[in-house]
C-alpha cells in the first residue's frame, strides 16, 4: 500500500512539451510511472519521444487512455483552466506543480473541483512519490527508498532534505507528499494525515510545516484526536521576520498568527515530537518506529 498513487496509477501530463513538462515526463517514465498520455492544445496526434501519445484535450486523453491522474506543468496564466479541464474530464487526482497562480483563481477552482469529485494536490507543489512504485511531479526519485514512513510537507527542496536524511539513515518512505506553499491548496495536512493513518504500510509520519496560517496547528489537534500512528514535526521559518513574505505566497507571518514558535508549541502540546533541525528528524523517527 501507499497513498494517492501506486503502480496502477495512469497519468496524463498537461504541458508535456514544455521545458519543465518534458524534462519531468521523461524522469517520471524512467522512474516507472505509467505516463499514458500528454495534453497540449494543437499538438494532438503527435507523440512525446515517440512513445507517449499527445492529445488536444484532457477529455479525449481520458477517453483514449483511461487515465485517472493528471499532472499540470502549464504556465500560471493557463493553470487554473488546466485544472478545470482535468476535473471536467473526470480525472480523480490532479497534481498542479505550477507556481504563481492568482489566489482568486484558486477560490473559484476549489468548489469546481469539489463538485466533480476530484482531488487537487497543490498548486505550487513538488507532487508526490510512492518510492519504488510511482512518482508524479518533480521530486527526485533517486533520494527515496521504499519503507514505513509517510512524509507530508508544504515545501519542495526542504522535503528532499528530510527524505535525504531518512534514506541516508536506512529509513524508507511509504509515500512523500508535497502539498504546496500557496495560501489556498487542494489537499491539506489533515487530508494526508488521515490517508497515512489508514494506510497499512505507513507506520509513522513526518510533517514538515512552515510559517504562515494555522494549518499546522489544526493538523496537530487532528493528530491528537484522530491518529494512532506517531508523528514527527519540523517547522521552517523560526528566524523569519513578521510581515515579510518568505518566497512562498503562503509563508508570511501576519499579526501574531503563523509564527514558527506558535506552530512548534502546538505540535508539542498535541504530542508531536518536534525536531529543531532537519537532521534531528532521523532520531525522532527511529524512536517513533520503536
Amino acid at each position: 500500500m501507499s497513498v494517492l498513487i501506486d503502480r496502477s496509477s495512469r497519468l496524463l501530463v498537461q504541458g508535456i512539451t514544455g521545458r519543465d513538462g518534458s524534462f519531468h515526463a521523461r524522469q517520471m517514465i524512467d522512474y516507472g510511472t505509467q505516463v499514458v498520455g500528454g495534453v497540449v492544445p494543437g499538438k494532438g496526434g503527435q507523440t512525446f519521444e515517440g512513445q507517449v501519445p499527445i492529445f488536444d484535450t484532457v477529455a479525449e486523453a481520458v477517453d483514449e487512455t483511461g487515465a485517472d491522474a493528471s499532472v499540470i506543468y502549464v504556465p500560471p496564466a493557463f493553470a487554473a483552466d488546466a485544472i478545470y479541464e482535468a476535473a471536467d474530464a473526470g480525472v480523480r487526482l490532479i497534481v498542479a506543480i505550477t507556481e504563481g497562480i492568482p489566489v482568486l483563481d484558486m477560490t473559484r477552482v476549489m468548489p469546481f473541483v469539489k463538485d466533480r469529485g476530484a482531488r487537487l494536490l497543490g498548486p505550487n507543489c513538488p507532487g508526490l512519490i510512492s518510492p519504488g512504485k510511482s512518482k508524479v511531479g518533480i521530486l527526485p526519485g533517486q533520494i527515496c527508498e521504499p519503507g514505513p514512513v509517510g512524509v507530508v510537507s508544504r515545501s519542495g527542496t526542504l522535503t528532499y532534505e528530510v527524505i535525504h536524511h531518512l534514506t541516508g539513515a536506512g529509513i524508507g518512505q511509504s509515500t512523500c507528499v508535497g502539498i504546496g506553499g500557496d495560501p489556498i491548496i487542494g489537499t491539506s495536512f489533515i487530508d494526508c494525515l488521515s490517508l497515512f493513518e489508514a494506510d497499512s504500510e505507513t507506520r509513522a509520519v513526518v510533517m514538515i510545516g512552515e510559517i504562515g496560517g494555522t494549518d499546522e496547528q489544526e493538523a496537530a489537534a487532528f493528530v491528537e484526536r484522530e491518529m494512532g500512528k506517531p508523528v514527527v514535526g519540523f517547522i521552517a521559518g523560526q528566524t523569519a521576520p513578521p510581515g515579510r513574505r518568505m518566497g512562498h505566497a503562503g509563508a508570511i507571518i501576519s499579526g501574531s498568527e503563523g509564527t514558527a514558535k506558535e506552530k512548534m508549541e502546538a505540535f508539542r502540546q498535541h504530542g508531536i515530537a518536534v525536531a529543531r533541525r532537519p537532521a534531528d528528524i532521523v532520531d525522532l523517527v527511529r524512536k517513533a518506529l520503536g
Binding site: T107, L158, I184, A236, G247, H248, R277
Partner: protein, 380 residues
C-alpha cells in the same frame, strides 16, 4: 504588493464607495495648498507601507492651512518602523458619530474570500480578533455568485439598527467586494467606516494589498509600486526573478527553494549566528541567476561569508556551479564562499568547482558551521 492609502482610496472611489476627496503632498507647502483647497479642518496622514501610523505620530489633525503645513513638516521625513515618510495625504477631517470596520481577505481555511465587519472600528482589527472575537461578524463569499444581498444585509444589521443605514452599508459591502475581485486583491479594508455627524456613511481610510501572482494581468498597477518602500537590493532581486529579504546578520545565504532557505536561516541561528538574508534562487536555475544573487548579497556590507545550500531537483547543481565560477570572474568577491550541493548533476558540479579549487560538501549542517566560523574571522 502593498499600495498606499491614497492609491487605495482612488480604487475604492472608482468602484463607487463613498470616499472623501484627498490630496497628496510631498512638501509642507503642498500640504498647506491642499488644505486651503479642501477648506475647513483637515487630517494629514503619512503614506508608508506599515500599520500603526497613528500611534507612531504619523497622523495629525489641522484646523487650517497653516497647521496643515506644520503637521506635514513634522510628518514628512519621519521614520515609521524603518520607513521614511516621503508623502502625506491631506483629507477633510470628518466629525465622527460612529466608527466600524469592514475588510475582505482570502481565508485559507474556507478557501474563499471572507468579508468581516466589526462595530469596533478605527482600531487594530487583529487585536479585536484576538481579544474579543465575538465582536467580529463574517460571511464567506462564494466567488461564483459574489457577495449576495442577504449576506451583505446580515452584516449591515450587525452594525446598524436603522434599515436605511443597513441597506446603504450592504451596498457599500457589495461594492467593496466588486473592487476586491476586480483588482485581484488579497486584502481590501475600510477602517474606519464612519457615520459622520451629518449622518453620512463614509470610508475615511482605505487599505489594499494586491496579489503578486495576479499582477501580470493588471499592468495598470505596475505604476503604483513604491520602490522607496523596499530596500534597493530587494527591488533588484525581484527584477532578476529572485526572492530576497534582507536581514541583519553576517552569513549570506543562497538557497534553492523557500522552505529550505528558511530552514538554512534557522540552522545558522541554531549554531549561534545570524543570517544576513533570505534568498531563494527558485526552481529552474540558470548560471546568470547565481551571478545576480551573489551581486545582491555582496552589496550588503554586513555579509562576512556566503553559503550556498543547493538541493538539486529541477535546479541542476552544475548550473549553480557554473554560476559560481562566472560570479568569481565577474565580481569582486571579497568574502569566503562555502558550498553544499547535492542532487541532480551533483557529480558534474563537483568537477566544475574542483577546477577552480572550491571545495563542496553534501551536508547542510557542515556547510552552515563552516560559514559561521569563516564569518566570525572575516573582515571586509
Amino acid at each position: 504588493m502593498k499600495i498606499h492609502e491614497y492609491q487605495a482610496r482612488k480604487i475604492f472611489r472608482d468602484h463607487g464607495l463613498p470616499v472623501p476627496p484627498e490630496r497628496v503632498a510631498v512638501s509642507p507647502e503642498e500640504a498647506e495648498a491642499a488644505a486651503r483647497e479642501l477648506g475647513g479642518k483637515v487630517v494629514v496622514k503619512a503614506q508608508v507601507h506599515v500599520g500603526g501610523r497613528g500611534k507612531a505620530g504619523g497622523v495629525k489633525l489641522a484646523k487650517g492651512p497653516a497647521e496643515a503645513r506644520e503637521a506635514a513638516g513634522a510628518i514628512l521625513g519621519m521614520d515609521i518602523k524603518g520607513l521614511e515618510v516621503q508623502k502625506v495625504l491631506v483629507a477633510p477631517a470628518v466629525d465622527i458619530a460612529d466608527e466600524a470596520y469592514a475588510g475582505i481577505i482570502v481565508d485559507r481555511a474556507s478557501k474563499r474570500p471572507v468579508l468581516m465587519v466589526s462595530a469596533a472600528g478605527g482600531v487594530d482589527i487583529e487585536q479585536v480578533a484576538r481579544e474579543t472575537p465575538e465582536k467580529i461578524h463574517k460571511v464567506e463569499i462564494d466567488p461564483r455568485y459574489g457577495l449576495l444581498t442577504h449576506q451583505a444585509m446580515a452584516l449591515g444589521f450587525a452594525l446598524y439598527d436603522d434599515l436605511g443605514r443597513v441597506r446603504e452599508a450592504a451596498r457599500l459591502f457589495q461594492r467593496l467586494y466588486r473592487a476586491f475581485e476586480a483588482i485581484d486583491a488579497s486584502l481590501a479594508e475600510v477602517n474606519p467606516l464612519v457615520v459622520t455627524g451629518e449622518g453620512e456613511l463614509q470610508a475615511i481610510d482605505a487599505k489594499v494589498n494586491l496579489d503578486d501572482n495576479a499582477l501580470y494581468r493588471h499592468p495598470e498597477f505596475e505604476g503604483l509600486r513604491d520602490p522607496s518602500s523596499e530596500a534597493p537590493a530587494e527591488v533588484e532581486a525581484r527584477e532578476k526573478g529572485l526572492s530576497y529579504v534582507k536581514l541583519e546578520g553576517t552569513v549570506g545565504c543562497i538557497v534553492n527553494g523557500a522552505g529550505l532557505a528558511m530552514a538554512t536561516m534557522d540552522l545558522i541561528k541554531y549554531y549561534g549566528a545570524e543570517p544576513a538574508n533570505f534568498l531563494d534562487i527558485g526552481g529552474s536555475s540558470n548560471p546568470e541567476k547565481v551571478v545576480n544573487a551573489m551581486r545582491i548579497i555582496l552589496s550588503d556590507p554586513n555579509v562576512k561569508a556566503i553559503l550556498f545550500n543547493i538541493f538539486g531537483g529541477i535546479t541542476r547543481c552544475d548550473d549553480v556551479a557554473n554560476g559560481i565560477v562566472s560570479a568569481l570572474k565577474q565580481l569582486d568577491v571579497d568574502v569566503p564562499i562555502v558550498i553544499r550541493l547535492t542532487g541532480t548533476n551533483e557529480k558534474e558540479a563537483l568537477e566544475i568547482l574542483e577546477s577552480v579549487d572550491l571545495p563542496a560538501t553534501n551536508s547542510m549542517d557542515e556547510v552552515v558551521q563552516k560559514a559561521i566560523e569563516l564569518a566570525k574571522g572575516g573582515a571586509r
